[in-house]
């Protein structure tokens, strides 16, 4: 099936099997390996990207469902050389260790701050509760997101 989608501002057209998952289209066909795959059951969130303006688990979206839509992945978070405050926050607060969950966590965090610029730590925890990190115990991820919120508020 033909699918045309815009990923990080670039339009791609591909002919794909109907069953191809969006995560595999991104990784294997488009070479955007920043989004990861971590489970068979939509539990881990390593694969989170935005479909239009909403975070989705791209292992649970067929590539063809993204036809005509916009996708944002970790590779599109920075604005050229300047990192998104969320990216800065993760590095600044040690919000990552192995880095495997990080792209998905940052994309959810970016969405959260767009919709709630001053989240409480509980709201951050709630926002990422559909995603798993095996390294950080989440504490520094929460700090990273709060750091980014403060940074964006000019703090």
């Amino acid at each position: 099936m033909k699918v045309t989608l815009t990923v990080n501002g670039t339009e791609y057209a591909r002919d794909v099997e109907p069953r191809l998952l969006l995560i595999h289209l991104l990784r294997d066909e488009l070479g955007l390996t920043g989004s990861h795959w971590g489970c068979d059951t939509s539990n881990c969130g390593a694969c989170v990207v935005w479909l239009d303006d909403t975070p989705v688990k791209s292992c649970t979206v067929l590539a063809v469902m993204a036809d005509g839509h916009r996708v944002l992945t970790v590779e599109g978070l920075a604005n050229g050389a300047s990192l998104d405050p969320v990216q800065q926050g993760f590095a600044h607060c040690h919000g990552l260790q192995c880095g495997f969950c990080t792209p998905g966590m940052m994309l959810t965090a970016r969405w959260l701050l767009n919709n709630n610029p001053h989240p409480s730590s509980y709201q951050v925890r709630e926002a990422i509760s559909g995603q798993v990190c095996r390294c950080t115990g989440y504490e520094n991820i929460v700090k990273a997101v709060l750091w980014a919120a403060e940074y964006e508020a000019g703090g």
Binding site: E17, L32, C98, F100, E126, I128, V132, R134, C135, E139
Partner: protein, 793 residues
Amino acid sequence: MTGPGVAGQETGAYGAIPRKEDARFVRGQGTFVDDISLPGMLHGAILRSPLAHARIISVDASAALAHPKVEAVLTGADLAGRGLAWMPTLSADVQAVLATDKVRFQGQEVAFVVAQDRYAARDALELIAVEYEPLPPLIDARTALAQDAPLVRDDVPGRADNRVFDWNAGDKTATDAVFATAEVRVGCDMVYPRSHPAPLETCGIVAASDAVTGRLTVWSTSQAPHAHRTLYSVITGLPEHKIRIVSPDIGGGFGSKVPVYPGYLCAIVASMITGRPVKWVEDRSENLMSTAFARDYHMHGEIAATADGRILGVRARVLADHGAFNATAQPAKYPAGFFHIFTGSYDLQAAFCEVTGVYTNKAPGGVAYSCSFRVTEAVYLVERLVDLLARELGMDPAQLRMRNLLRPEQFPYTCPTGWQYDSGDYPRAFALALDLAGYQGLRREQAERRARGEYMGIGISFFTEGVGAGPRAHMDILGLGMADGADLRVHPTGKVVLAISVQTQGQGHETTFAQLVAHELGLTPDDVEVVHGDTDRTPFGLGTYGSRSTPVSGAAAVLAARKVRDRARLVAAATLELSPDDLEWLDGKWRVRGDPDRGAGIAEIAMAAHSSLELPDGVEGHLDASAVYNPPNLTFPFGAYICVTDVDPATGEVTVRRFIAVDDCGVRINPMIVEGQVHRGLADGIGMALMQAIAFDENGNCLGGSFMDYLLPTALECPSPELGATVTPSPHHPVGAKGIGESATVGSPPAVVNSVVDALAPFGVRHADMPLTPANVWRAIQGRPVRPDLAVS
């Protein structure tokens, strides 16, 4: 002790600096195994046994081979033809690569398909017809030694039962004598359930065999690339210098990426057969069902004490479920790992433990998941026993611990089972934890809540672990001594490249090791590039696990740097036309004694060492150096943890309200990274104590084969931890550091369980096994035994 890096002296390049590796990770530019794509690369998939125990009658792959996108299919018979159907494990046993005679656990590898893409490889698995003759499975380890138990390992000639080993440590006679006369004795059966490390990245490999050069290049999720290279050479017969193992970025390991797995070998053989690179990446259920599990210890522990609360001795009998193959990864001399450190942190007279390992029809493994080679099980046992003793004596568990902790003046301390603890100030760390927790206030609050019918628990754990394996006289894996090398190159401009034998799975080696070397040489961490995870570019060493990177490889890096510094002194003396004795190392430079403004730093000296300067006799040019570090002893980090929980008696739900953790890992190179390691381990403890378990039904079906069933803590279950630190340097490590990577995973589960049991004390609950899921807590309240298979609730 003296020297750079010792607490209280100069801080130099140490400190909480951001990590170098983050620049690529936050941009999504890490390179994990599954990110690697080579021209012409094929994809492998494994057909696994649906049964726990069955004889294989036939395997027919003809339909799969006819699939238009399938390039090859490997079966056990194919591998047997190459002498590769079985491979050695890390524990002197063998493990089937692809089953030939029987399948021995659900999920065991039966056939390997190689196809043009990953979807086609999966499709073709369905086209392989396997005929099985089901056999009764052995699932309950407690029945493994019964007369009529099914025999798991009939492949081994002469084997008549399921016993893997019998092993003991300590002095039985002395211990029995102590118990015979003790005023108080308390015992308890406890199970440390089977769990799985479940790093977020599963295991995988890209194998590329080049028939022309004879070289094999492997990118794999390996915590021990050098050991893997040697193993692959031994297994396949390929000359070792023709094998290159690359561990690229690794998405967490926690011990599960130490062994060689059948899928790796299948990919290697498939690449040799097809002449093309072959990638194999397991899916999550394969990961949870077949790669190294952890724990699975059935323990009976006893503690003896005086009536006024002086602990006299401990003893334990353990039944260890090793699964179908003995594939544990620990120093060969210790089949139960370091379990015999179960005397814990206490000053006691005698101890004895005996461990029997058995085969069952379950996945192999046992030593994984940040366990410090089974110190997890040991700490859990002794910390539960101390709480049980406190209950028996009617004493506060904090007071009982404080009364019995080893005192600072007893170090170095040799425990009754033979470990020599290098250093410690236990009462100081414990007092700090009690203070941070506001312990007395918590007890008052608990009493008030109890009066209102609310169930709040306060759980304490004090742990000691031995990490940094290890002294080569006692420790080897497959005959390879546990030393690690470091190579240091100093470029003419004074920039440095450090090549190390260990590699990071998230621990931040690129930063910490740069700090270690920069600190010794008066450089900044940015001046040091750390090369790791590539056997062609790094010196030999056994890898990252058992919290050994900083204790062993870190020491090698420091020693190499000190060699550089010593040589630099000679070169500096030559440039200044002085005697080396006239120079002293001060503030990162060799300076003239009494005239500290005159001197030279490493950058100037490096340029001189590469120049036409005439060097003194016996001084080679350049400043490069290397070192191999053979540790004289393990390092013994310790800590005091306090966990506060609230339990809803109606639902059995446990909420972890607070977690206070004081760790002493000696000198901290990068405290930010150290704290991050602790954060992770506390989450592990909450996970293991409250939700994670790999259980089986009576037919051997794995009940924890996906993240729907094997529950991991999320941000909502993990509290914001409250950390504290004390610093007691290791006297034998070059900078006084100890390992930290596993401390919190080792120390935190008993704190959580002690807390929940404390909360349930009004119900008369004395002990309840993990995982303390709502269903199991509810059962404990009802006075019914817990059931590990009720992990899912």
